[in-house]
Symmetry: C2
Subunit: 566 residues, 2 copies
């Protein structure tokens, strides 16, 4: 491709966006923002996106069959699973004007995911145990009604995705396949150049499974996720679910008399600790919850932690929990919201205390009295030491992995894929069963496997960029070579360009009438793996330099072609 | 691919649809209907679709640069051109439920075409004459709010399309490029196997240009368009715009006295002719129109023709015309709608008569009197012969091409592509100008170039199918070879299958435990170019047969690979 044909210009002085990938990709002319969370992929960006999708496709072909499902579908499909009313990013379509509404006033769901399409599809063709297992995948555009979309192409209102769905006669068979999918996923990230920095991370299984789901997380300083990694166990957890233990501390403090202190309008533990002149670690956060089966729970963590509702839910063994309403809080504590504490709770309330609250002397708790806090609280004197402390906190750096009692390695990461055991959630909704060997009906087990291909482009952009611009791994680079012709070398450059293309090697030729400085700066901004320069000085040779190295060397055209031919 | 992995079944007894392509493609397991006008492409269908898109992409790369624009865009873009309120197939998106609306209650347009996106994009990067010409194309999913979608994948609510847009400094440059695009389009259809049966057909330029647009029409008995082809001129017209002359007839009839005949509630010329006991050719259809500049037009064609408003508009030299309302008709004719005629019209009405009304003796016309028709009307006795007869009819088979005076060849066809000179319609709306050599601002001329890739799959399916099923041209076939293994030949078949794949040749292996009959029937239904059979009888050889021939022959594995390796 000749640079002049791109019909797009770089702009290294373009404004910076909140997200690093948007800033980099817009400056280098890979994407154009149409609105927040909606982008046009420009010529270079389209090539990178399709390179990623080609690699994903090649690997998925090992374990699935490609199909192509529609974006708009009847609302009834989403009624069947009930998700029409619960998926809070779901959009639907309606006629855009009176003439259109007059022609057809139907509404369709614009899919954010395809379980509602693929499950009835699988059911239509595969009704015997002999037909299973099978897996369909597609690479397709998806839609989400994101409220604020400020992450560039990492979280969009419209985005590209590979989604695969597998169907099995048993949970065991699903698990076998699921492990195979992990291996294929690892291969994808390996080929994309992300292999060594991408981990399988345990995450919540949502309401599909009591087990975990699995995220593929790539280490990235600008990543929006936090991974807790136990080296000893070689297990990584998403922060949202990482089991954690607070390191124990010892103290030789003297036990002081318990006291109620008035403190009006102290929002947040930092402010409270400052007011009370105690470390934040001495404060206690107590929250009241209701379970779906009508129980009342008081959950308490050390003030510098947050309560993890995912963990709490598993402990209280309910289907769902929600924060108690104002009225209930008042009834239980006799105080307004914000002053709940662990002392003197009615017997109807189950108190669940996190291990972070253990072993403290003279700690604080809400006084269950509006505007009051109790300080110098001590176990066994003011409240019985609980028979068991739980883990109901969101983990923090410094926390220990409970089994090994060793601190986690904690790092920022960005999700590049996720896989989910759906089990029978969707097959049950669509009444999808298969007959077994004896003609008996058996439920179908499903798994789903996602890779956001446009998102991946953003992660790769952020991961490898340096202060001069983008740096593309060879497998996804828009072109392998970037030829810069300086001075009166158009004929020579054209000769090289033609010969390289003839050999099936991809090349971008900066044929513009621009200064050497502009061309070199643009090369770095764009980040193609190899820079070639021809100038009157290079004579019959070509100067070659890797984007990631400073060293240049000279090469002949023949050597160049030999080196990059596959 | 092994048949068992397709996870899809053929069903030769599936119900028939209104459209031939839907019937064929559903029976053979290429597509699945999710709702009217919305389909899933199943494994075989996905491969055909992507083969078509690969060919289209390769050819478009010769004259354009690929990008990928979003499906959802801000409504403001469509407000800018005013089309938000006029495109009657346009859809928009809204949150699908309360939770989604609460997160984001914005509405976005779901593009049915991309002029509103590509014009501001072109403008953003290309502001000098030096940057032009350029052309962007994409292969993407589009949406149309079709009321009834009964044409299978020929006219869908969601469909795949290649759309290209070119930008030029002058109309001349646009025309040069436009001719290049025609050649590239012809190449695409040639490669798809449609070359010899695909013509460039002149069609209306819409409100973009006084010139024609161009459709690529493939001869197809089941096609929904009618093409009028003049062999002598080598010009083809869409029926909607074909210039036409009615063959002259001579008659030695005696002129009869003019007479008004009462005929109540005679709807349609057939009924009228029967009632009056005259040939339909003796009836006259007179319609009253108003132009946008306030003129009144009476347009008359022979009863067996329809008035062509496209032609009429060009003749009356107005921006738009519309049928006169009831009130106006009553005022002009003194009668209810349905009885307008050419006699005794007020001077305020311009009478435009089609050449089909010429040369008749004793013809009929509405009496301009409710429930009455005048018969035995004759030129010069009852009304002056017009100084000029016009062509304001929709052409019919048998009509003459006016210049050559020779009958058209008329055939059914299906549109597989169209190209449009947009001229300055969109660049003006977006105020897109470029500076010329002297720094002066010049308007940008645009063209657009569409190929419906999913539609093409439907046309190809209908075009080549025989009574046994689909017949795919090699270039788009899902696989080149279809291997059927009969009896105890699994090991031999696996050996062939692996060797063929190893050689980069695409193959479908029917590895199912089914009868020979079922496998052969399915082969014909699916329509892969070559059938291979291994059975205990074929020993070391392979039986090979073309889908379109009856003759089988034996071939060795080595010969097979040599023959199909590229």
């Amino acid at each position: 491709m000749k640079f002049s044909q791109l019909a797009v210009k770089t702009n290294k002085n373009a404004k910076s966006y909140e997200s690093k990938n948007a800033t980099l990709l817009i400056k280098a002319g890979f994407i154009d923002q149409v609105m927040a969370g909606v982008y046009t992929f420009l010529p270079l960006g389209t090539r990178v996106l399709f390179n990623i999708e080609r690699i994903v496709r090649e690997e998925m072909d090992e374990i699935g069959t490609e199909i192509f499902m529609p974006a708009i579908v009847p609302k009834e499909l989403w009624e069947t699973t009930g998700r029409l009313h619960t998926v809070d990013v779901l959009m639907k379509t309606v006629g855009a004007n009176d003439a259109s509404l007059k022609k057809n006033d139907a509404e369709y769901v614009l899919n954010s995911t395809h379980e509602e399409v693929v499950t009835p599809l699988g059911k239509k063709f595969n009704r015997s145990y002999k037909d299973l297992p099978f897996a369909f995948y597609q690479i397709q555009t998806k839609f989400r009604n994101e409220p604020r979309a400020k992450s560039g192409i990492l979280r969009c209102r419209e985005f590209r995705m590979k989604d695969m769905y597998s169907f099995h006669v048993s949970e065991e068979d699903l698990k076998l396949y699921y492990e195979k999918a992990k291996i294929v996923y690892a291969k994808v990230f390996e080929r994309l150049g992300l292999g060594k920095d991408t981990l399988i991370v345990l995450a919540s299984g949502g309401d599909f499974t009591p087990d975990y789901s699995h995220e593929f997380q790539t280490r990235l300083d600008t990543g929006e996720d936090t991974v807790f990694y136990s080296k000893k166990l070689n297990i990584a957890y998403n922060k949202e679910i990482a089991p954690s233990k607070t390191p124990e501390t010892t103290t030789d403090e003297t036990v002081l008399p318990k006291k109620d202190v008035q403190g009006v309008g102290l929002i947040g533990v930092e402010k409270l600790a400052k007011f009370l002149d105690i470390p934040v670690e001495k404060t206690t956060k107590t929250m009241l919850y209701k379970t779906d089966n009508g129980r009342l729970i008081a959950a308490a963590v050390r003030g510098d932690y947050k309560i993890n509702e995912y963990k709490l839910l598993k402990i209280v063994k309910a289907n769902s929990i929600e924060l108690a309403d104002h009225e209930t809080v008042r009834k239980i504590t006799g105080a307004e919201i914000g002053y709940a504490g662990i002392l003197n709770l009615p017997e109807s309330v189950e108190l669940i205390m996190d291990d972070s609250t253990r072993g403290r002397i003279n700690f604080e708790t809400g006084a269950n009295r509006t505007d009051y806090h109790t300080i110098n609280v001590n176990f066994d004197r003011d409240i019985k030491t609980p028979s068991k402390f739980y883990d109901i906190k969101i983990a923090k750096p410094g926390d220990l992995e409970p089994q090994t009692q060793e601190p986690y390695e904690v790092f920022a990461a960005s999700e590049v894929g996720n896989i989910f055991p759906l089990n029978t959630k969707f097959s049950k909704a669509f009444d999808y069963t298969v007959t077994d060997e004896k003609g008996k009906l058996k439920p179908v087990y499903m798994g789903c496997y996602g890779i956001g291909t446009s998102r991946l482009m953003g992660v790769i952009a952020e991961k490898f960029a340096d202060d001069k611009g983008l740096v593309w791994p060879e497998a996804v680079a828009p072109y392998m070579l970037h030829l810069i012709s300086l001075g009166e070398t158009t004929k020579r450059a054209a000769e090289i360009y033609d010969a390289v293309i003839q050999s099936g090697i991809s090349i971008l030729w900066d044929d513009r009438d621009e200064t050497a400085g502009t061309k070199f700066t643009d090369y770095d901004l764009i980040g193609i793996p190899y820079r070639l320069v021809v100038s009157p000085k290079t004579e019959e040779s070509i100067e070659i330099k890797k984007r990631t190295e400073e060293k240049t060397s000279l090469i002949t055209l023949e050597e160049l072609i030999a080196r990059f031919s596959t």
